[in-house]
């Protein structure tokens, strides 16, 4: 048995339905019947038909739809509204619609019978186009048309066996029962794969959900997955099925505010990253978003803006007041503002709307303003799951996403409503601080994955030419000063500087003056000294002269007296000693 595991791998038949193939790991079990159960109006027929149509169109597997409840005309009409032309498919021999009508009032039962007629019809339909897929919708109608349940059960068992033998991939739909999956216990016969659809109303919001109850021989997603039906058919969004395998680029895009870019190493956000801008009411979230949108438009990129609070015109008008003109981009068609109230539909519908629009519009930038409004649509876990899904989707699509989130007053600033901050690559926290009689706006880059970024808290202003980050102005104690306090301190410091400068200059002048005084004194002293010196010299000269004269006189006298010169020398010597 275990020799060749490859043979044991279950072959699967892709449904082509967005999300369902992800959940089932490739589709429904090939060549086996699958039970699709759910209450009335939950989308059984639609899912089953989509399985056939997509099989016929995308997988080249023709299909038979055996309808017990609607006739072929009704089916064709119903599905035409979903864009499926059943009649054309039938004409191309890709689809057979077989209407089985049982009217109890017309039928009398007497004695033994079997459902060979049904088998023959089904066999005929399958063989006529070589069908690989079969839908029986819903075979339980037999129970209301025929009364002998013992025969019916035996025949159903035989039918499912027969379908397996035929090798067709079948969907058998069944109405949800009170205590069992189906009203007539069809799950007893169809044991390979059971899918349950559900349509519940929670908080006045109807949500369709799908759950794979069982899938023999295959792994599958086990949770309840929301799905929805719209003009394009069924889409299921398996929130958890997405892998974290998206690529990470190194390109950067400007935030639209150059000084904010400067805080992020001068280059702005990473491409395909997700940016959260959170803040209290009126802290400038939308303005930052508008900058980003405007910058995207300037780069020639396409931008899709989901507005949940303001209409497109309102945004354009308001942003014009701070000097950001979004109107030209809207006119060019590179910016699309999709405004709707978040309560218009449930979370899943939003998710799918966003998906659809993104796929249609192919933007490089998506803005969701604000994402916190989703919080009213589901529990925190649901919203977070949805956001995870959304952000993963954006990343895979290489879309740079900027989402804003409103922080309610009084809560912790770092506490985003819906706990999405951990999902985000960059987080800008905006806040209002009150000091004195004014409130000022502050911006802080809480995180920015994968880049060196400024850790400063910055004050910013909403000017008539957009968001303007001010110079960091920390007061003497290192506390960031904002608004008029900053201005006041700035003025004060300016005054002080002036005084300082004046004082310094005064000192300088005094010093000069002193030096001049000293110099003057020195000059006077020098003059006096020179006078004294001159006098002294004069005296010395006189003295010397007179001494010379004296000596000369004495020599002359001696010469005249013929005296002993030695006596003269003695006399002079004595004088010197003196």
């Amino acid at each position: 048995m275990n020799h060749e595991p490859r043979n044991l791998v279950l072959a699967k038949s892709p449904t082509g339905i967005q999300g369902l193939d992800e959940l089932t790991g490739g589709g429904l079990p090939k060549g086996r019947p699958t039970l699709l159960c759910g209450s009335a109006g939950c989308g059984k027929t639609l899912l089953a038909m989509e399985f056939l149509v997509r099989g016929a169109v995308e997988s080249g597997e023709p299909g038979v739809f055996m309808a017990f409840e609607e006739n072929t005309g009704e089916l064709a009409t119903n599905f035409a509204s979903l864009g499926h032309d059943l009649k054309a498919l039938a004409a191309q021999k890709k689809l057979v619609l077989e209407w089985v009508h049982i009217e109890r009032a017309e039928i009398e039962e007497t004695g033994e019978y079997d459902l060979e007629g049904l088998f023959i019809r089904l066999g005929q339909a399958i063989d006529s186009i070589g069908a690989k897929r079969v839908v029986l919708d819903t075979v339980e109608a037999l129970f209301s048309g025929l009364s002998n349940t013992a025969i019916l059960r035996a025949e159903l068992r035989r039918l499912f066996r027969w379908l397996k033998d035929k090798g067709v991939t079948a969907i058998i739909t069944g109405e949800r029962g009170e205590s069992s999956l189906t009203r007539y216990g069809l799950e007893e016969y169809v044991a390979d794969c059971v899918i349950l659809l559900d349509h519940r109303v929670e908080g006045q919001m109807a949500t369709r959900r799908l759950r794979i109850v069982k899938y023999r021989g295959s792994t599958h997603g086990t949770s309840e997955y929301p799905f929805l039906i719209d003009a394009g058919g069924i889409s299921i969004l398996p929130i958890t099925s997405m892998g974290l395998t998206h690529e990470a680029g190194t390109e950067r895009v400007s935030s639209g505010v150059s000084r904010l870019d400067a805080m992020m190493g001068g280059k702005g956000y990473y491409c395909a990253s997700s940016v959260l801008v959170s803040g209290t009411a009126g802290s400038g979230k939308t303005s930052l978003a508008a900058h980003f949108a405007h910058a995207a438009a300037a780069r020639g990129e396409r931008c899709l803006w989901f507005a949940f609070e303001e209409s497109a015109n309102q945004i354009i008008r308001n942003m014009r007041s701070i000097g950001i003109d979004l109107a030209p981009a809207v006119r060019r068609g590179t910016l699309r503002i999709q405004a709707e109230r978040p309560t218009i539909c449930g979370l899943e519908m939003h998710l799918v709307t966003i998906h659809k629009l993104v796929n249609q519009f192919r933007p490089q930038v998506v803005i969701i303003d604000p994402v916190s409004n989703f919080a009213t649509l589901g529990s925190e876990a649901q919203v977070k799951a949805m956001m995870t899904r959304l952000i993963d989707f954006f990343k895979i699509q290489k879309i740079t996403a900027l989402v804003t989130s409103l922080t309610a007053g009084g809560t912790l600033l770092d506490d985003t409503e819906i706990g999405v901050s951990s999902l985000m690559d960059a987080w800008l926290l905006l806040r209002d601080v009150q000091n004195g009689a004014e409130r000022n706006r502050l911006l802080h880059l809480v995180k920015s994955r994968g880049m060196a970024h400024s850790n400063q808290v910055r004050e910013f202003l909403l000017t008539d030419h957009g968001v303007e980050l001010r110079d960091v102005y920390a007061g003497p104690s290192g506390v960031l000063l904002t608004g008029s306090a900053r201005d006041a301190l700035q003025a004060h410091e300016k005054a002080q500087t002036l005084v300082h400068r004046q004082e310094t200059e005064g000192k300088k002048r005094e010093l000069t003056r002193k030096r001049e005084a000293v110099d003057a004194q020195i000059a006077v002293l020098r003059a006096e000294f020179e006078v004294e010196q001159a006098e002294a010299n004069k005296t010395i000269a006189q003295d010397e002269t007179s001494a010379g004269v004296l000596a000369g006189d004495r020599v002359e006298m001696g010469r005249l007296r013929q005296s002993d010169t030695g006596a003269v020398r003695k006399a002079t010597k004595r004088k010197e000693i003196h």
Binding site: I102, E106, E108, T110, G111, Y113, L115, G117, R121, G123
Partner: protein
């Protein structure tokens, strides 16, 4: 289920009209059930509609396409094509009274009870 408060020994009132009864019996192959159904039908018609009926036997095993037209699911199925409206009786026709009720040859028991 089969309580039969019969309105007398109900030898049929030879229907409402003397028109030809057009009956069609769908079977799938020569199974015991289909053979029994044909035998039962033949006997019943001889008893109640002698000279006023035609029976057409359709073997779906040979003509599978024909099952669609008369919305045949179960076999054997007897279809009263004429007189209108169309009536269907499924099974081997072993319960004569049910067949007669089904063919409108006698009134339904519950209606008279």
């Amino acid at each position: 289920m089969n309580a039969k408060p019969r309105a007398g020994p109900a030898r049929a009132p030879r229907a409402q009209s003397a028109d030809i009864w057009n009956l069609r019996l769908y079977v799938a192959g020569q199974t015991p059930k289909s053979l029994a159904a044909f035998a039962n039908l033949k006997r019943l018609c001889e008893d109640h509609l002698k000279g006023h009926y035609t029976i057409e036997v359709i073997d779906l095993a040979e003509n599978p396409r024909l099952a669609k037209d008369d919305q045949i699911l179960a076999v054997p199925t007897l279809v009263r094509k004429l007189p209108q409206p169309v009536r269907k009786i499924i099974g081997d026709l072993s319960n004569t009274e049910h067949v007669l009720v089904g063919l409108d040859l006698i009134p339904a028991p519950s209606a008279t009870a």
